[in-house]
Each structure stands twice: as structure tokens, then as C-alpha cells.
Symmetry: C2
Subunit: 344 residues, 2 copies
DNA sequence: CATTGGCGCTCCTCCCGGAAGAGTGCTGGC
DNA sequence: GCCAGCACTCTTCCGGGAGGAGCGCCAATG
């Protein structure tokens, strides 16, 4: 149990690397014999067993039972991805293919397609945390649905269209509605609702009473639209995880996992963590602090607009995943998403 | 194998009913002994065995192996739901609770919440085929995003907001855009795009060239919006099916099933069938013609607006489901949805 | 002193066979 | 027509080898 030496000599590292790679490849505990052949070190199984015993003492590997080979622990995976892993970047062709599958028509579609592409490429679950809406609006429009129900259409600065139904106390005439939207559009387009609220109070004291009521409602709705839709997470390809043996063998875990997927807020917290760091980040097993994920790893990368992080993309799969492949995919996808968003 | 008598005498029916009910309740093959106690017929197991042999000959029940009890076949279920089943309608309280959970803010939310409620109540998967959009528009708006990209905002007659990006060949000035939308809104609000197209050609020959271009683009986009979003199917609570023993025991089937869920169009075809009939309809096992569903039943009911069927709600669960409970739930939900839609 | 072959040990998996239990089909009596 | 009884069939559930994989330890070796 004593994790004596925290530093691994080169041989131990090489063996650990070979072991993890092998285990990732075929999911069977790896024995000394197999390692002896794989490692390229020309060591006998007996010598390797010594090293393996050390690695086990240090908590990098473990054996499921007395006489099986060893499998990596979470700590082993951690060390592996941090210092042993050699990722090979995607080649130009793959990037182009990936890019070709993105649907750039709207932010919504873009996000969905990114999530989808991630799941398709990795055959795990793809997730994207949608960007927070920027706080301003580009255009606003009131539309009368019935006596006291107004439809507020709000085009946000990033070109997304939001709509909300407002219940009013009194009935407004079409011309009043047009007037209100004109005022807002002509004077305040591009400002944040925060600003508008302040300026409306200052500048438009002379506005007719009912008009300010309308404005207030609009601003409230706008605020709400911004804050409510602040962040959301889009998941694709959960089904893929049904086909992953490591996960589908214990049904109960699998159910927990899928329940987690329905619980957007929890997932959001986890993914938000990643947007603080920059570059690809990896959560292995329970590191994220969520039990349902203890057989899973989450590979994430933040994406940005104008140099500011606005969201996260990621892949959720079994801990035993081909990191050297998943990592560049997530990395590139985040970058492609960033640049796709920059073009609007 | 010869399905000799197609008519079942009363005793046989009673026994079949008891058998199916018992099997639905606990999922174990039902033996003659158990039936003898359940049926209330005061018959000995031996006599019951005779009847069971007949039922088996007629294809209503089958035994998994020589010495297990019997379980209903698809045909048995069919007969059960068609003529033996006694559904007890939901009481007022339950209906109110159900109604309280619907979100009536928008058609979209309404449909989602209906699907969700169905899955919550039945603990299976809830599906809703969204209504076809009515073909007219209530309001239309052009918004310039960049030089050659316009955002078309379209409020459909049923109050939903659609938006599409139009790529134009030339650049339009804001006033041109306003003019175009004014023309459309003032003259053609409420008409179908079909009509508009005809009338625009007839009445507005004198329009400036670039204006007609814009109109054409708008109409095309409108058409597309209507046809594209013609029908879609919303599923909730697929996760629930992971917890259903009958399904989760064979992983492969389960995966097929979940793949089916991702394949909206196939599902749509199935559900569309149901909108022809009126009232609750039930597809048992493979009756729907889809293998992934052969361990499932689908309970559907159409819903309507102004007396016209516009969509379908339904529940997908294991064949061994509590029909007497699911049927009224689906039935009532369809009616609630109809009346919720009528209020707009 | 690191490396290595050898040996004993543990534990898993697979397979077999017997016992128990459930439920049927059949038969002969009422 | 109903039913008690009986033989039969299958499934499920251990328990006990046999085989195999892989480890730990040890003593020999360069």
C-alpha cells in the first residue's frame, strides 16, 4: 500500500505504457508473459513480474484477482495520459472530412452537428455545451397573438432567434407594438439589456405609461431569455455506449449513466470545469466526482469566440478508450467550432 | 398447429384472461396450478391443463420449454387487448395532475411535455408526432445578418416561430427588406404559400425586379419550412426501457431498439399508421413490421385540432405491459393535447 | 546485483453429473 | 366432463474435478 517511490524509472514507464496500450486494445488483463513480448525490452517474464509488483505497490495497476494479469487503475490511466501518451494529430484529410460534416446554417444546428460528429467519429457519446448567448439583441419584434398574449421575437447578437410569449395586463394595439419595437430597435440595438434598462429609465421618462410597461415586459423577457438559455448541453450518440462492452456488461451502472445524461445540470457542472483550463482536458473514472461515471472518461476541450471561452465540447466513453485518437478529435473539433462561430 | 376452433368458449376466455393478467403482473410463465387458484373457476389443475392445451393449439399461448408454464403469444395478447381487457378510466384527480404537468407556453414545449408526461406516467418511452405546421403565416420579417445573408423570421399561423437563413445573390438595403415584409404582411398574412405564389405573380407584375427575387426566396424558404418541419417525432424516457427486465436482458435487441429511436423517419411511418384510425390503437410485437419492436408494444392515439387529426401520441414499452393502465393514459393524454392546442 | 528459470500456489473458467422442483401429458376412474 | 395420480421432461442449482493462466518467491547465474 505504501506508495514508496513516486518517480518511475524509464523501464517501469515503458512497461506501464505497453500494459495500458495493450489493455486498451483488447480489454483483457495483461500478464507478464504478454508484456515481455510486447514491450520490446527483451526482458523475461520473471523480471517483468518484479516491475509489475512495484507498479502495483505504487497504485498504477491492479489485478482483478490472484492469478489474472494486471489492469490499469485510474491512477495508471492518469499517468498514462499525462506523460506516456503520444497522440498523433489528425491528418489534413480527416480534418477536412470532419469540417465537411458541420452544418453551419445556425448556431443551433452547428452545435448539434458538432455533437453528432464527435459521437460518430469516436463511437462514444458526444457532448457540446452551447455558448452563452451574448447579452445584447440585434432586433426585437412584438406580435399580437390574442388579446393579452404577445409574442416577443428576439434576434440575439449572435444571430439566434428566441421567442417568448408575454402575458400582458392590458391589450395593445398593433401600432403601439410597432412603436415600441421601433424605439427599441432604433435606439438600443446591440446594447445589453442591462444598459437598456438604465438608459430607458433615464432618457424616456416622458414615454406614455403603457409604453413603458411594454418595454419593461420586453426587457424582462429578454433578460430571462438570456439567462435561461445561458447554457445547455447537447448530447449525441448515447446509444453508442450501449455497444461498449465495458459498460454494457453491468446494466445497473449503465442505467445510472443514462440517467445522468438526462440530468443536464449535473453534466453541465462537470463540463464547465473544463472551460477554465485551456486545451484538452481529461477526467478519468470517478475523478469528476460522479459515481455514474466511474467506468468512464470524459475528454473535453473549450472553444472560444473572440479569444473568450464560450463553451465546451467533449466525448464521454469508457475509461478504456483509445485516448490517442479521441484526444485529437476533441481538440480539432473544438477548434473547428471556434472558427465556425467566428464567421458570424 | 391446426388452429381448429377460432371461437373460444367462455371458460377458455376467462382462463386466458387470468393467464395474461398474471403473466403481465410477474413475468413468470403461468402453470396450471397457479391458474386454478387465480381464475376463480374452481377447476382442478388437470382440467385447466386441458384448456391450456387447446389454447396452445390455437396459438394464444406457448410454453418456453417442456415443463414450464405458459406465456401469451402475440396472438394471445391481441385477443386479450381486443376482447378481454377491461380498462379502468383515469379518475378526475389523475387527469388533473396530468394536465397540470403540461407546459402550454408554446407548441414545441407542449409537445415535449406531453411526451415527457407519457414516459413519466408509464415508465416507458413516450412519443409524440408533432403537428404538421399549418401552411400559412401570420407574420414575416427579414433581417440582414451580413452582406448576402438574410435571416427570415416566420411566425406560422399556429404561433410557432421559424427562422431560416437565406443566401441572396445581391445585397438588399434595410428599407427594401422592410418594404418586402410589409407587402407580404399586409396583403398575404394568413394565406398559404401556395396561394401567395399565385397571387404575387398575378397581382404584382409591376414590382421591381429585385423585390420579386426577394419574395421568391421568402416563399421558397416558407415552403421549405412548412414541408421540412412537416412532421417530427419527439421521444422521451427511452432510458426507462433500460430498466425493463424483459428488454434489458438481451442487450442486442435493446441496442436495435435504441437505434430505431434514432431513426426518426422509420418511427414516423409506424406512428402515422395510427393517425388513420381513431381512438387508441395498439401494435403488439412485430405487428408493426419492425423487428426491433418484436418484444415491444406500441400504444397510440391520434390527437386533433378542429376535428382534424394532426398528430399522434403514444407509448412504447415491452409487450408485457399493463395495458389497462397505459391505454387510458394515452387516451387521455391525446385528448388533453387536443384541447390544449385548441386554445390557440 | 540485476536477471532469469523453475516451482508451487491461487484463482478463474469450463464442464459434468446429480438432486430438487416445477409443470406437463396421459390414463383410468367417477 | 372432471379430476387424482403418475411418469416424464426440462430447468435450475450446486459441488466437484480438470485445465489453464499468471503470480510470488527462491535460488542460481553472469
Amino acid at each position: 500500500m505504501a506508495h514508496e517511490t513516486q518517480t518511475l524509472n524509464e523501464r517501469a514507464q515503458l512497461l506501464l505504457k505497453a500494459l495500458v496500450e495493450r489493455y486498451i486494445a483488447d480489454g483483457q488483463p495483461v500478464g507478464s508473459r504478454a508484456l515481455s513480448k510486447l514491450s520490446g525490452l527483451d526482458l523475461s517474464p520473471a523480471s517483468i513480474r518484479n516491475v509489475m509488483a512495484d507498479l502495483e505497490d505504487m497504485g498504477f495497476i491492479a489485478s482483478p484477482h490472484t492469478s489474472a494479469g494486471r489492469i490499469p487503475t485510474a491512477r495508471g490511466y492518469r499517468f498514462f495520459v499525462d506523460t506516456l501518451l503520444t497522440v498523433k494529430p489528425l491528418d489534413r484529410l480527416e480534418i477536412n472530412q470532419l469540417e465537411g460534416q458541420l452544418q453551419i446554417e445556425s448556431t443551433q444546428k452547428l452545435v448539434t452537428s458538432v455533437s453528432h460528429v464527435l459521437s460518430e467519429l469516436t463511437r462514444f457519446a458526444g457532448v457540446v455545451v452551447t455558448p452563452r448567448r451574448s447579452a445584447g439583441f440585434r432586433h426585437i419584434e412584438f406580435l399580437k397573438l390574442s388579446e393579452k398574449r404577445l409574442l416577443l421575437i428576439l434576434v440575439t447578437a449572435d444571430g439566434d432567434v428566441q421567442n417568448r410569449i408575454i402575458l400582458t395586463e392590458k391589450s395593445y394595439s398593433p401600432s403601439e407594438l410597432i412603436e415600441a419595437s421601433n424605439i427599441l430597435n432604433q435606439n438600443y440595438a446591440g446594447c445589453s439589456f442591462e444598459d437598456i434598462r438604465r438608459r430607458v429609465q433615464a432618457e424616456l421618462k416622458q414615454l406614455r405609461e403603457n409604453m413603458t410597461q411594454l418595454m419593461t415586459a420586453a426587457l424582462a423577457a429578454g433578460d430571462q431569455a438570456v439567462s435561461e438559455s445561458a447554457e445547455d448541453v447537447v448530447i449525441s450518440g448515447e446509444v453508442n455506449l450501449l455497444g461498449v462492452n465495458d459498460l454494457s456488461s453491468n446494466m445497473d451502472k449503465l442505467r445510472e449513466l443514462f440517467n445522468l445524461f438526462e440530468h443536464r445540470t449535473t453534466l453541465l457542472q462537470l463540463l464547465d470545469h473544463s472551460s477554465r483550463a485551456q486545451g484538452v482536458q481529461i477526467f478519468i473514472g470517478g475523478e469528476a466526482g460522479l459515481q455514474p461515471l466511474d467506468e468512464c472518461s470524459v475528454v473535453t476541450a473549450p472553444y472560444e469566440v473572440d479569444g473568450k471561452v464560450v463553451g465546451t465540447v467533449g466525448v464521454i466513453g469508457p475509461t478504456r478508450m483509445a485516448y490517442e485518437r479521441v484526444i485529437p478529435i476533441v481538440d480539432v473539433t473544438a477548434k473547428l467550432l471556434s472558427s465556425a462561430l467566428a464567421q458570424r
